[in-house]
Every structure is written in C-alpha cells, then in structure tokens.
Symmetry: D2
Subunit: 432 residues, 4 copies
C-alpha cells in the first residue's frame, strides 16, 4: 500500500487568520478553557472508522466513487494498513477519540470463531497504536446489519441461531472495547425492526430484544467494564420501522425491562430529524429522563427523507445542542462523534481533512456560544421566572377533588402571559 495518503506531515494548525483555501482550525483550540474546562475535554471529539475508512462512496443508484489505497481490506495485512492510515488521520486532526465496529477493523473470517479471533488480533494492534499515540476509544460496537444473515433482524431475528451469533459477536466486541479502555459501548439496532407487520411478531421481538440487552448489561458487570452501554435511536432506514425509534421510545423500552439506570442513549442529529424532532429536543428529553449519554454530531438534509449523515455546518443549530448538553452538566463518558460521511463526490484525501476540520470548528463555535449563553444567564433567568408561581405550591401533592373544590370556590381566572419566543430567539442570536 502506498503511504502518505494525506500528503502532509504537520497536524492541522490553529490559525484564525489562515486564507480561505488554507486548511486550519479557526475556532477549535484544544487547550482553550470554556466554563472552566478545556475545550478538548468538553467536546471529546471522535472520528468514526466506517464512513472514513470503509465506505466506498456507493449509494442506492451508484457504485463506489472513492479509490482509497486501503480498499478492499480483505486481508489482515490490508486491515493493518488501513489502521495505520486511520491513526495518521487522527494525528493530523488532533482528535482524542475514535470509534469502530468489528466489521470495520477486520475482515470477516470463514467461521464465527475465526471472525472473533481476527477481532482480537486487530484489537491488539489498535491497542498498540493507542499506546503509541495517546488516542483513546470513545466506543466500540458490533455491525449486526450489513451481512445478509442479519437481514431479518439481529437479536430480533426469527432464527435463534442469529440471536446466538449476535450474542457471540457482541460479547467479543464488548471484550475488545473493554480491553482497549473504551469509554462506552454502543448498540445501534439497524435491523431491529420490520419491513412488514404481516410477517412480524412485534411482541415477541421486543421481548427478545429486551432479554438480549439485559444479558449485555449483566455481562458488562461481570467483566467489570465501567463504560456506559448506549443505545442509538433511529426511527427507520434501513427498516420501515426500527424499534429504537427515538429517545422517548428507548426510555419506555428500558423501563419495561428495568434497565433505565443501566443504559443511556447516543443521540444522532440526523436520526432526531428523521423521527420528527429537533436535535436539542432529543438531548433535553434524554437529560430530563436521566439517560443522556453521547452524541453523533452529523446532520441530515432537511429536504431529504433519508439519513444523509453529513458533517455539521450550521452553528446556531449546533449551539442549541451544546446548550442542552451543558445545561445537563456536559458529557460524562460520552463525547462528540462524527458519524458523518463525505458526500460521494468528495473524492480527494484532503476532503477527509476539510470535512473534519470544518465540523470541529462548527462544534467549537457552538460550544463557545452555548457557554456564553449560560454564563450570561438571561435565558435561564427568564425560564425560571416563567415557572416562578410554582415555587411553594402544594398543588402537585393534593388530590384532584381538593384542587377542584378550591379552584371553584376561589373563582380563579388565570390570565395568559406572553411566551416571548421571538425575544428569546433574538437573545440566542446575540451569541451565535
């Protein structure tokens, strides 16, 4: 494999004065302190393996467009080369974290046993590279959706052998994640759903999925993995309906199986949009429900009905997302992963760098704006004032008929107050 794919040795610098075609950070500076924390520690950026190093640029109407020297990684030799280039890109970008699926880092073996062995071998290789570079693993995960064996579901498959396959695979991936010091382990149920209700036993499949997740949590405790288990909600695509539809749905599912204190969510902007929500809604809801974990910072296009996984580029949107994250106390184990892919026409090595640099800068601006809004305090003060009449009220504790009796007796006649939405939006615009 030819090396030096990116044709530069120096990491991308921070240089706000750089010219329009110069590759430089204009806003992200890892050591800059925001609300008492280094920017790097706030944002906890991660680069994903799959879109950057595995995806070849295909779409439903066309084949590959990218011609990377590391394609196809169908041998262990090539898998290692691919890893070398990945870590080289991490270095150039100056990100602290990365994420992977088993499928991304090793070619599948002819048997389950061989696939597991290859995963272990590559995990060792990545461990060495982590040690050498200081890179850390934000999360590992298992690809339980690409191979045709998963076409009818992973843990919800009608065939128990597939369920068993998934158990073996998740165990291996969790082991590897644990060994590599991963901060989280993610489950995205891309095939946990259905194409038609006509062939689906909805209740049974939900039960199987709940039992599976419980096992994963049990195993995590057995091996002493201290990272968080995260579910990544998505409403549909590739399925017509995905069981982990959105944050509220995942929350109900966790409660049903008594897992609401064990599992959290990894929220992706694009998936929020597909489910009919704003990104900040999903974050705020997860915080309110106590299950906020991590984010995938990649957007969809509002004019498209599918998951475009584009790099973020709208600072006001990103600022509102980080505002909810900061209001909730910031990331614990989670971080900002770019589950984002280049447009398939972005062929050049430099496009990989431009995309991440741009995304990181957008996030840095968003974070700083969010912090400034919080520190300014006007928004939170106005929010608190809006509910101020509840302070000292005992209404929540009294029975319906008592409240009713008093309300009638007093002859209350509540008058509405302005919600001041436009003023609040203008206040936000002072900061973004």
């Amino acid at each position: 494999m030819p090396r030096d794919y990116f044709q530069r040795s120096e990491p991308i610098p921070y240089d706000p004065e750089a010219g329009p075609l110069d590759l430089a950070f204009r806003h992200y500076r890892p050591d800059e302190v925001v609300m008492g924390r280094r920017m790097e520690d706030h944002l906890r950026f991660a680069v994903c393996w799959w879109h950057n190093f595995v995806w070849e640029g295909g779409d439903p109407f066309g084949g590959h467009t990218f011609e990377r020297p590391w394609f196809p990684a169908d041998t262990m030799e090539m898998a290692r080369h691919r890893a070398d280039e990945a870590f080289e890109m991490f270095r150039l970008l100056g990100v602290p974290f990365y994420c992977f699926h088993d499928h991304d880092i090793r070619p599948e073996g002819e048997t389950l046993a061989k696939s597991v062995a290859r995963l272990d071998e590559m995990a060792d290789y990545l461990g060495e590279k982590q040690d050498a570079s200081g890179m850390r693993l934000l999360w590992g995960t298992a690809n339980l959706f690409s191979n045709r064996r998963f076409m009818a579901g992973a843990s919800t498959n009608p065939d128990p052998d597939v369920y068993a396959w998934c158990a073996a695979t998740v165990k291996a991936c969790l082991d590897a994640t644990h060994r590599l010091g991963g901060a989280n382990y993610v489950l995205w149920g891309g095939r946990e759903g259905y194409e038609t209700l006509l062939n689906t036993d909805l209740g049974r499949e939900l039960d199987h999925m709940g039992a599976f997740l419980s096992k994963v949590v049990d195993y995590k405790h057995k091996i002493g993995f201290r990272g968080a288990i995260l579910i990544e909600p998505k409403p549909q695509e590739p399925t017509k309906h995905q069981y982990d539809y959105d944050v509220a749905t995942v929350h109900g599912f966790l409660r049903r199986f008594g897992l609401e204190d064990e599992v959290k969510v990894n929220i992706e902007q694009g998936h929020a949009i597909l489910a009919g929500h704003s990104f900040e809604h999903e974050i705020a809801l997860a915080s309110a429900l106590g299950i906020f974990g991590s984010i995938d910072m990649n957007r969809n296009d509002y004019q498209s009905g599918w998951d475009t996984d584009q790099f973020p580029n709208n600072v006001p949107e990103v600022a509102l997302a980080y505002y909810e994250i900061l209001r909730g106390g910031g990331f614990a184990t989670g971080g900002t992963n770019f589950d984002a892919k280049l447009r398939r026409q972005s062929l050049d090595p430099g496009d990989l760098l431009w995309a991440h640099v741009g995304g990181m800068d957008v996030c840095a601006r968003g974070l700083k704006a969010a912090a400034a809004m919080l520190e300014d305090g006007t928004l939170e003060r106005l929010r608190a004032e809006r509910y101020a009449k509840w302070e000292g009220s005992d209404l929540l504790e009294r029975p319906l008929e008592a409240i009713a009796e008093e309300a009638v007796a007093k002859g209350i006649d509540p008058q509405p107050r302005s919600g001041r939405q436009e003023m609040l939006e203008n206040i936000v615009n002072r900061f973004v």
Copy 2:
C-alpha cells in the same frame, strides 16, 4: 331554531342494491354476526360532537363555511337545540355511541363555577336523551386547548392556576361521564407540549403531567368509575412538540409514573401518520404493550403535513387496522369513534350523513375482511412458522457468555429465509 334539519324521518336503510346517489348502507348491518359477535358490538361506532355540531368550517386561511341553524350555541337554550339535532342525527345513522367535550355541549359560563354548573345541567339533559333513545356515551373529555388560558399548556402550564382550573374541569367532566355511564374517559393533551424549548422546562412539565394523570386515576377509583382512562397520542399540531407523541412515548410515560396498568390509549389513524407510523403499527404496538384501548377512525391525507381528520375511505388500510384489533381480542371498553370532520366545502346537511354512512361502510368492509383473514388462518400460520425455531429454545434464559461460547463451538452459520412480503400482501388482497 328551525327543526328537521336533515329532512328525512327514516333511518338510513341497509340496501346493497341502492343506486349511486341513494343514501344507504351497503355493508354495515348491525345484527350481522362476524366471528361470533354482532357487527355493532364489534365496531362500537361513535359520532363525535365537536366536528359535527360545533366546528363551523374554518381553516387557517378562511372563516366559517357552514351555516347550521344551531350556530352559535351561546345560550343554554341553543345548546339544547343543538343536542336535539345531534340525537336526531344519531338516530338516522343508527350508531350506538357518541362522544363529547364539555366545551361542545354547553356554553362556557362567566366563572368556573358557572361553567361546571352548566355542564351538569347539560349532562342531565343528555342523560334524558340517552334514556329515551338508547344511545350510549363512548367517552367524555375536557377541552383544555381552545381557550386562550390554555395557550401555554393545561396541566403543564407555567401558571399553577391553570393547573387548578384543569383539575376542576377534568373532575367535572369525569363526574359527568360517570353519571352518563360513559365507557371511557379520554385525555388529549393538545397544548401539553411546547412551541420553543427556549422557554420550556421539559422535565418539570413532564412531572406535572404525570402528577396530574395520577390524580385523575385516583379520582376515578374514588368515584367508582369503571370505564377506562385513555390518552390520545399525537406528535404535534397545534404545538411544535406534543408530549404524548405516539404509543411508545405514552407507554414510557405511563411506566415512569407507574400507571401502565391504569391507563390505555385511544389511537387515531391521522395522528399515527403524523408521527411516522402506520395505524396498524400503533394498534399492534399498544396491544403488545398491553395498553390498547380505543380508536379514532379518521385519516390524514398522505400529501398533507397536518391533521386533516378525514373520514376513512380506504378499505385495505382499515382492514389491516381491524386485523390487529381482532388479533388483540377486539375492543373491551373502546370503540370506533369518527373524530372526523367534513371537508369545509361539504356544506349540506346530507353531507353529514353521507360522510358517516360511507365511513361506517368502509369500517364494516374492513372488519369483515379482517375476520375472514383471521378465520382463513393462512397469515397467522405463516407468521407462527417463521418463529417456529424458537419453540423449546432456552436462549432467552442463558447468559451472554454461555450463548457465545456455544455458538463459537458449534460453528453455527445461520442462513436467511425469505420473508415473503409480496406473497403475504397478495394473500391480504384476496380479502379486501
């Protein structure tokens, strides 16, 4: 008020041979037995008060189009006249049930106390009419969304006085529903949501809503109301986000407040669609989660992004809905309510009749098709076969590592089987 608005005295007959412009049922025959139950008892049709007797035909870009002799019902005298015409229409249609909001049946009084008193007075009047006609109340409910006092929420309002107002109103409506022998009591939280997160304390509002619902359930038990308490999910409109987004969201909410055995859902086709689901999905999910209650059988237009509340007209869609209802055991306390409104250009008295007759016939065809599919048994046999390998499996009880170990040792290699979706859809088409 001029009487005889509908200009006919004979109830609409059943006559499959009637001409294209003759008003007649071609499929609905209350006494016809389907799967061992009278069609009327299966379908449990209800006519709603609001769209038929209150709505004047306005939309966001235009004012009233309907000119009913009972507009406006701003006196108790007119409210009684309106009720007379409503019961006359029920008689002509031959429906067994109706539904109302407080707001529909009485003009609001100048004080809360007077509003409650008027509600009681009209409930007495309706009770007499029920006795005289044999009509029954499928459900009562409170309108906590039209008046400007509710603009920022009902039980989730920032003003505790509004919360108290709602408590008094729901108590009065539940009392009235109980007195009238209502089979259910419904809560639709049209203003329980937000326009902007910027002024909203999401966590607090959810807590208030949970406390409110708990009080309603407590009160129901105190007065011995035996009907079901139902929440009607809707994702948005009028709000940007409504807390009772869909069945899964309501389920999580109920679990969080320990109400999952106390409260069920009233599912509307149009709201399912707005939330990104099919109607049959929402029904099947509610059945699987044990919270299925009742349905609002009114559709949206797939090309519109708002709640058009149209009468059902697509038999295959309706058949799939009743198929899931029958699979789940049919209605207990619930029924088929038409929360449907005429198009605003449908000005004539006859349009009210045509719309309901058409809707009832579509439901009758759907029900018969659903029953035939169940009785034929092919679909359920194929569904069961698909999961047959799970019979006798102990995978769900075993820990992850044990399953993994065995899977690797055995060298399993699961092969996918056809999901046969097109064949299943063709089988359905034999019946619709």
Copy 3:
C-alpha cells in the same frame, strides 16, 4: 448456469378459485374485454430488467441478499444466460412487454467502443428472443447514473467529456431500442441535479440538459424512430435535487426548449409521492398538459422518505390512477411497467413470481373498477354539473375592467355550493 430457476414449466394460470398459497391470477385475464378493449391491450404490462435480474438486494446498510445463478453477469456468456432466464420469467408471467437499460443487458466494456459493440450484440440476441417468444420492448433506456463517471451529472456534468459519453450512449441505446421495435425511449435523469448549490451553475446545467434533449429528439426523427421520447420525473434521490422534479417542472422545461409536442412523461407512483403529489394528480396533470406517456406502477411506503419501489398492492389507489388514464383516452405508446423490486428479504425464485402476479392482479382490479366508474357515469356527470354555469359564458374573453364593471353594476353575490367530497368518495368505494 443451472437452468430451470423457477422450477415450473406451466405459465401462471387464471384461476379465481385457487387456494391462498397457489400461484394464480385471480383477476388478470388478457383476453377479457373492458370498455371494448382487451385487458392486455389496456394494461400493456412490462417487466423491468434491472430490479429483477441485476439488483442483488443491497441497501445503504447492507450488502447483497439474493443469490441468483446469473450473478454476476460480467461476461457475455452470463449476460445471455441472464437473458434466457428473464425471457423464461416473462413467459411464465404472460406479460407482453419488457424494459431495459444498456447496463442491465450487457457487461460494460473496457472502452466506450466496446461497450457499444456489446450492446449491439446483446440487442441482436434479445431480438432473436423477441421473435421466438412474441415479447415486445416497451422501452429502452441508458443507465447514466451508476458508474462513478456520472457522479456529478450526465448531460449536466461539468466535464464535457461526460456529456459526449452520454451522447454516444444514448445514441447507441436509441439505436438498439429502434431496432428492437421499442414503443418508447425513456430518459431518467438520476444524476441530473445537485448535492449542493455551492458548486453548481444551475442555469448552465439546465441549458445543457435542454440542448441534449433537443439533440435526442432530432436524432429520433433522423432514424425514423416512431416511439415516444419520455422523461421520468423524480424530485430527489440519489441527488438532493433532481431537475426533472415532477410533471409540472418537466412541462415547464419542455416549453422552455420548445419540446412540449415532442416529449412526454413516464410517471412513477413512488416519485409522485416523493414530490408531494398523489399518483392520480400527476397523471391528470400530464393529461391536461398533453404530455402523458406511460407509467411505472410501483409505490413508495408512505412512512418512508425514500424510493422503496414496491409492487402495487392498494386497489383503490390503483383504480384512481387508471381512472385518470382512461379519462385521458388510455395508453397510446405507453404501458404499465413494474419498476418495482422485491423486498430484499424476499429471496426465493417464487417471490419474483408472486410479486408480479400480485401486482398484475391489483392492476387488473383497478382497471376494471376504473372502467366501471366511467361506464356508470355518475362521477363525470356530477363533475360536469359543477362547472355547468360556465357553459355559454363569455367571461374568459372579456377584459378585466369590463367584467369588473358589470360585476359591480349587477351587485352579484355568489353563494357557495357543496363540493360533496365525501359523497364522491363513497361513490368510488362502490367500485373498488
């Protein structure tokens, strides 16, 4: 290649009494006469090559699921085998027409010249098979979207060499279509659009596309091709925006380049839905504008935001589509193509048959219902009555100020009449 993939020798029979798992037509009978025309001649069914014989079952999150003996057709030998199986399937289904892209029927050569030569060779082979079987070609077309050279557009590519490539390819495909007696030639501009306006010269690209289409029309006349040139509108996917958005957009484009009498449209139900229209709307509009040509009878799922290309299964929807087609005089050169693909879990040879048999039966029912509605005449009589006041009016010829003067002088006060939508929908339901 193993033969007898479909494992049956008898064509699918017409047998309305066949059991639920028997493969038989229950509604489609080619020789049955509907409104004075054989059903086969009304519907003019075509089977497409690409989804049935080329597509391997992949989606954006997973690889192939189908394992056909004719994969991959990367040699001319295999391409002929694939053709043999295709014609065998046509025979079993009893369809009169088929459709293809160049890309479907021959492997691409190393050079443009070789690709053209291979196309010619395979066209000869198909010609022989047509002669032997009586099959006809509904339309041919060029695949100008799969190869990476087209990623930034075909005739709208920034690179003139791609434009030239497309010219050569369309010429070759049009030649082949002409030679095979094709009834139409279709252009679907899957890459004629953009991913971002930031790198796009919209005006220039539209000019190039117009010039290209004009050339195609000129060439058609030169070679004496008598079939219709058809554009297939689609709003997006794979692009963010496709220039041939919908029927109205294509109409404006044709007018701009003076091609409105030369080119017609091939309307696909799924694409209509993606553009925010009903299928019947697009057909009715094309008829009103004089550019209706042909249809792709494959639907999308209303809950998905992408092009699912499913076989039709909703008779009421299909009936409304054929109603508009019959109102417009039926197909001239066009027909009913199934640009439909199996769900990727439908692995078996039999699924290919079930899907088409089901789709053809749905169309047959829709056609018969549409014909019955037209022959009944009630709908058209009511439509005409609604506009009856326009008969004899000279308003359209008079100037604004004259109409205004008279309106004011006369003191007109127009009163609305019921649009009777629910009654009309009920009338339709008598027939479907």
Copy 4:
C-alpha cells in the same frame, strides 16, 4: 381606541452594545453601505398588515389570544385607527415599506360596490399617511381566500360569478396599488387548487387561471402600472394541492400562457420548504429562469408540516438566500417582506417589535455575509473553474450522432473530480 399601544416614542436605535433585554438593532443600519449600496436599499424591508394588525392569534385548535385595541376593525373608524397604529409601528421600526390585502385595511361592505368604495377610501387615507411619513408600498394584493365565497377557488371557481367577483376585486386592488405608488402587485392563489380531484376539472381550472392572469397583465398595461406582477408559489395549505406549487411550476404556467416576460415570483422561505426545496434553490432557479421578483422572508419549522410563518432567525440560511439574490443582481422592484406572524403566545406589544427587530438584524447579518462572500470571490472562482472545460466547446451545437462518433473514435474516458462540498461549506462558514 387607546393610543400609544407600543408605549415608546423613540424609534428603535442602532446600538451594538445594548444589553440583552434592550430593544435595539445590533446589525441593521440603513445607511451602511454594502457593495456600493445602502443597506436599506439592498434589503427593502416591508412589514405586512395581515399578521400584525388583523390576525388574532387563532390556530386550528384554539381561538384568539391577542387582545389588541384595534380589534375588531369592523367600522371604517376602527380601520383608520388600525392604520394609525400600523404606521406608528412602521415609524418605530424604521422600515421603508409595507404590504396589504384589501381585506386587511377595510371592513368588507354589504355589496361588492361598497367594498370597492371602502377600499378606495382607505387607500386615500393610506396615501395621506404615506405622504406624511415617507413610507412606501412594496405591494398590494387581494384577499381571495378568506370569505366562504372563495372556498372552491377564486379565478378557478366552478361558479363564473366568483370569477367575476375576483376580477372586480383585483382591478380595485391594482388600482389602489397603482395610486399608492406600489412597487409590485402580488397574487397568491390560496384557494386556486383542489381538495379532491374527484370534483375538479384540472384542465379547465388551469385555463381559467391563465386567462385571468392574462387579463390582469393587460389591465396593468392599460393603466400604466409600472410595478411588477408577482405570483407567490405555495404547494398546499389550505388546499391539498395548490396550482402555483413552486417556482418551476409557475414558470411552466407562465410559459404556457406566454406570460414569462410579464410576471415574476414572490418567493417565501416557508413555502419553498413545504414544496421540498431550500429557499436558496427557489431563488436561484427563479434567477436562472428570469422570473425572480421579491421575497417573503419567513420560515417554517422543519419539524412541522404546515406553514408556520415564523420570523427568520438562522443567519447561515438567510445568508445563502441573499447570496443568490446578490448573484442575480439584487432586488429590482422587489424587497424583503416579513409575511411572518408572532407565535400566538407572544401577546405583548413589545413582542411585535422584538420579532421585527430580530428579523431585520438576522437579514442584515445575512446580507453582509453574502456580500463578503461575493467580494471575497473564492466561491465564484471555484464554481467557474468547475465548468472551465466547457469554455470553447462546441458540443452544444453539434448533433448527437456527431458527438457520439467522435467520442467513440477518441476513446474518451472521463475521470471524476472532487465536488469539494465540505470545503465549500467551510468557506461559507467563515462568513456567517
């Protein structure tokens, strides 16, 4: 009527240092020169009459929320008071333009003649206020959608008397607009469309609409009105389908009736989104087609499926819109109208001011960013380079077969080049 509704006498100042709750412009300064033109002359802001002074805060699920002293304006006396307050608000905001419907500025009379007379009387009153204040009219228009007489269409109504009514009304509005020196006259066909195809003669209605528009254009020339006639596209709502769906549809319609040089478009961001487009797409397309006229700068919420008409608040989006406007040469007769309404919870007089000040500042930032991008020149340079190979090419002039022959002979093998979307988006982000 109580005066001094806004409780301030000083116009809103420009003060970038103002505190978060101070009402001040932080970016809009009318006299600041951007690309050689005063900001006021670039942006040409207009305030609309309807949402600010007529709309009472109702939505489909609730009645009025606003309590303005000028409600209801059902007498000419009140109409004048309303106008006084409107001009007072214009003064406080410092906007140069306003817009109105006939319906907004005068109560309807009992007869058509009286309605016209009242319009004339109020136009005189507005003319005096214009003279006194220096305010100008950006456009006038007729409300042909609110009254029930228009429920089935205005110029497309099945009743010719409604057509005549519309002719008289548009004539009167155009006369008034002309007299007031209006820069444009707008037609928005809110009821020109259908609820169901079943009762609609699509072809006839389009013909009627085309004839009507031709008459309007003729009349404009007769009276010497020099402003532009503008159509405002919208895809749906209140109708299921509106004939003026989007820019491309309007363009085709204009071409069909030979009006493409006579009529331009007024593009609204929210309507662009409802039609599945970005705002900048619609502007760029209108520019490319030569029909760009003016804009309504109000957005929809991406999570809602209806027309929310919110004030703009996202600078990056607004910047891309002005970028396309500046690329096309800026406004000629058009301007930036806020067809935007307060959220219905924004009850206070101050909310009217905050909303406009915020919107104007967002536009000012967008304009400056757009100008800076154009002056920087990088984007346009890169765009031009992308198409550079077309310079000097004669491909567009040569026939298909000649291009094909040469392409084959030369053995061309075009290689794709990166579209660099992420880099371009990052360049934009340097300016917003």
